[in-house]
């Protein structure tokens, strides 16, 4: 039991992280795409397509942070100080973009809060990519505590991941707009989705080549036999999915490009898990090294099994309630 608990929890927290990335990904992506709208009316339409959801989406970020604290306190205590600056920058960027939802429409001039929304979304996305990238590269740990410097995270690989995640969120945002809006916004989003799709594939390829070269353990994981026989479908399915995103955009389908973009994210996430499991803080601390006591894990697990289905229930309800497209020029007045 004690051996399985951290595995169950890794799965749950993995789901929380991927839910966060996909859900907040599309509304951060809309912030990234904000400057490309031709006027504030179009921005109203874009923002309105995510307004009822963003708060719930961001709750998954709290869940990720708190989940780590609950179940893997040792990992939380190492990762947070190691990524101090990107974490704080991300949080401050999220402050600006979060309040921009409300402030933008009460202010005299929407321009400033539109800018804050874009800047906050873009910086937060970049910072999240950097956090992910530096985590893959590895954190300096001695005696179970972070022992590196404040700028350890500023490496070419982490910055590459930052740009990559920005493009990924751009893709999610653009395909979301394809699904949830009409008129010029949706038309423009089709082109933007293709643009970001190409960039995302380039970044995915770069990370996939870079990580095995950088870390022998990752090369070993993917290219040793028999692993290779089981793992080769991952990149193949990724390529197929990317092709489908492109094709469905061309066919002017509404929901399929967004859903396929999510699958692309899931595959990228799966690739990272394959590369790094069972490390939670590569290259030193595994999920078992960092897990909380079994009593804490079990107590939390009981609540999670009870509450998670309820959360998913009202999550589905709210998406069903606000189903359909936000029309072109749908006014606030």
């Amino acid at each position: 039991m004690e051996w399985y608990l951290p595995l169950i929890w890794s799965a749950i927290i993995g789901v929380a992280v991927i839910l966060y990335v996909v859900l907040d990904g599309f509304d951060l992506g809309i912030g990234i795409l904000f400057p490309t709208a031709s006027d504030e009316r179009e921005r109203d339409q874009m923002m309105r397509s995510v307004a009822p959801f963003w708060d719930g989406n961001e709750t998954w970020l709290i869940m990720g942070g708190v989940g780590l604290f609950v179940v893997f306190p040792q990992a939380y205590a190492v990762i947070m100080p190691a990524l101090y600056l990107p974490m704080i920058i991300m949080l401050l960027a999220l402050v600006f973009r979060g309040v921009a939802f409300e402030f933008r429409l009460v202010s005299h001039s929407k321009t400033w809060w539109s800018f804050a929304f874009t800047a906050g979304s873009t910086i937060a996305s970049f910072a999240q990519g950097v956090i992910l990238g530096h985590l893959i590269e590895g954190i300096t740990v001695s005696n179970g505590a972070f022992s590196g410097g404040p700028f350890d995270w500023a490496t070419p690989f982490a910055l590459l991941c930052g740009l990559g995640l920005m493009c990924g969120y751009g893709l999610l945002g653009a395909t979301w707009l394809v699904m949830k809006t009409e008129g010029p916004v949706a038309r423009r989003a089709r082109g933007q989705a293709k643009f970001f799709l190409v960039l995302v594939l380039a970044f995915m390829a770069a990370v996939s080549l870079w990580t095995p070269l950088m870390e022998p353990r990752i090369a070993e994981r993917w290219f040793s036999l028999p692993n290779f026989y089981f793992l080769w479908p991952v990149p193949s399915i990724t390529a197929l999915t990317a092709y489908l995103v492109w094709r469905w955009i061309d066919e002017e389908r509404d929901a399929p490009p967004f859903l396929a973009a999510i699958v692309l994210f899931l595959l990228g996430f799966a690739g990272l898990v394959i590369s790094n499991f069972p490390y939670l803080v590569p290259p030193s601390l595994t999920v078992w090294d960092t897990a909380a006591g079994p009593a804490s894990q079990i107590f939390m697990l009981m609540g999670t099994l009870l509450l998670l289905p309820m959360i998913i229930g009202y999550f589905i309800f709210v998406h069903w309630l606000f189903r359909g497209k936000v029309a072109e020029g749908e006014s606030y007045h």
């Binding site: 309105r48 604290f69 306190p73 909380a292 709210v318 606030y332």
Partner: protein, 463 residues
């Protein structure tokens, strides 16, 4: 330059948590008020309650957004700034925060979406139910976070192995000795704080001669609540104080400015506690009065600050003054509520302009009282971060002081901008006022924004 990382980490956390607590203190109360208005609206069918409900929901949306974004910061700061604390207490405190997220945050976030944007999409009962669920969510959130904070004050139900706290009995962890008092004190504080905001807005409208009917409803509802809750808070606070005396006597000694435990406790109306000479300077005090309050006996003794070495004492000055500010505001609140009730009873509440003028200025007093109360309890816990388990100085992350100083500056700039714009925009919503019933019929356009929804209904443009 030399930075003290412990002091900076404390300053940063104090700044971000004080900023944050402003919004929950308001939104816990305001969500309950909005839900009450909704229920009254459904039961009486009177449109003015619906108008008020929509009006306060707009203000709620702006406040709640600020509370959410500043709250996300906190959930990561435990790790970024207090990683030793996270490691030592994570097994016990982690699940409490986890339950807060799962039980409260998702509930609030989801149903807030329906409350803000769903008015034209759901039946009225579900709309009001969503408001009630949001109110329950905010109170549940308070339940879990106060359980966590109370455990840091009066930890029970755990064992320490290799310097790390492990849970033994979850019921004892959650319902630790100070928790019921802290929960009652804080929830009541949130309701009182909101009632003073509502009272102030109502008084403001009456003074200006605008939205007179709405203003009167707001004032009646606020005073009706305050005349019960404000005196009740004195009683709860007293009980909480006695509980603190039992479990954290040195905190009480700092609150009272009580140095010498061999003497009865005087009630220091004003003094400047001098930590060097271990005496109070410029003291104006009522002898024996605090002995009477704390021990119910004329010559009752409690431990003094000098009963422990200086290294075991909290900083006395902030605890001492914050306590006086909190109690002072609390007594003023009771007086304001009783005077209001008296005027109401005599039928002259809305004519006494002096009372309206004073009340219109009092929207902020609850917030100051809440912040002061938290300064008392958090500063009074020092030098411990988790009482008797971990010292604050041993709890910080291995992060250089300069980094913490730099991000503290960023927090001050960011929160400064967000705070003043937030106040400014809320004031604008108040100036714009509730939408009139004639225009408040559901519009056929799909409103996705709270403030936009208000414009739909009110037909006023501000740009």
């Amino acid at each position: 330059m030399d930075f003290d990382p412990v002091l900076l980490a404390r300053l940063q956390f104090a700044f971000t948590v004080i900023f944050h607590i402003i919004f929950p203190s308001f939104t816990i109360g305001l969500s309950a008020y909005i839900a009450t208005l909704g229920v009254v609206w459904l039961r009486t069918g009177e449109e003015r309650f619906h108008v008020l409900m929509r009006f306060w929901t707009k203000i709620f949306a702006v406040s709640f957004a600020m509370g959410v974004v500043s709250g996300i910061v906190l959930s990561y700061q435990f790790g970024t700034n207090w990683s030793r604390f996270s490691l030592v207490t994570g097994n016990v405190l982690g699940p409490l925060l986890g339950y807060e997220v799962l039980m409260a945050f998702f509930l609030e976030a989801t149903f807030l979406g329906i409350l803000l944007f769903g008015f034209n999409r759901v039946p009225a009962w579900l709309y009001v139910l969503s408001a009630a669920i949001v109110a329950v969510g905010t109170a549940l959130s308070a339940f879990w976070i106060l359980a966590a904070n109370s455990w840091m004050q009066t930890p029970t139900g755990h064992v320490i192995r290799d310097g790390i706290a492990y849970p033994v009995d979850w019921l004892q962890v959650i319902f630790n000795p100070s928790f019921p008092y802290r929960l009652a004190h804080m929830l009541n504080a949130a309701y009182i704080t909101t009632a003073f905001v509502v009272l102030a807005v109502g008084a403001r409208y009456l003074l200006a001669g605008r939205y007179v009917a709405e203003g009167r409803t707001m004032m009646r509802m606020a005073i009706g609540l305050l005349v019960i809750l404000a005196p009740l808070q004195l009683f709860i606070g007293d009980q909480h104080g006695l509980n603190t005396l039992k479990h954290q006597p040195i905190k009480v000694a700092a609150m009272e400015g009580h140095w010498d435990g061999s003497k009865p406790v005087a009630l220091e109306l004003f003094a400047w506690p001098d930590e060097k000479t271990e005496t109070n300077r410029f003291s104006i005090a009522i002898p024996h009065a605090s002995s009477l309050i704390l021990t119910h006996s004329w010559n009752g003794l409690i431990p003094g600050l000098k009963s422990v070495p200086p290294s075991e004492r909290p900083p006395v000055v902030p605890v001492f003054f914050a306590f006086r500010i909190m109690v002072g505001i609390g007594l003023f609140m009771i007086a304001a509520a009783l005077v209001g009730a008296l005027l109401w009873w005599r039928g002259s509440l809305f004519e006494q302009r002096w009372y309206l003028r004073v009340m219109a200025q009092c929207w902020w007093i609850g917030f100051v009282a809440v912040i002061s109360g938290w300064v008392v309890t958090e500063t009074g816990r020092q030098p411990w971060i988790a009482y008797g388990i971990l010292r604050t100085a041993d709890a910080i992350s291995p992060v250089p002081g300069a980094t913490v100083a730099g991000t503290l500056a960023l927090f001050i700039v960011t929160y400064g901008i967000v705070f003043w714009f937030g106040i400014y925009y809320i004031n604008r919503l108040i100036v714009r006022g509730p939408d009139q019933p004639a225009a408040a019929k559901p519009s056929d356009t799909f409103s996705n924004r709270p403030i936009a929804a208000a414009r739909d209904a009110g037909g006023t443009t501000i740009d």
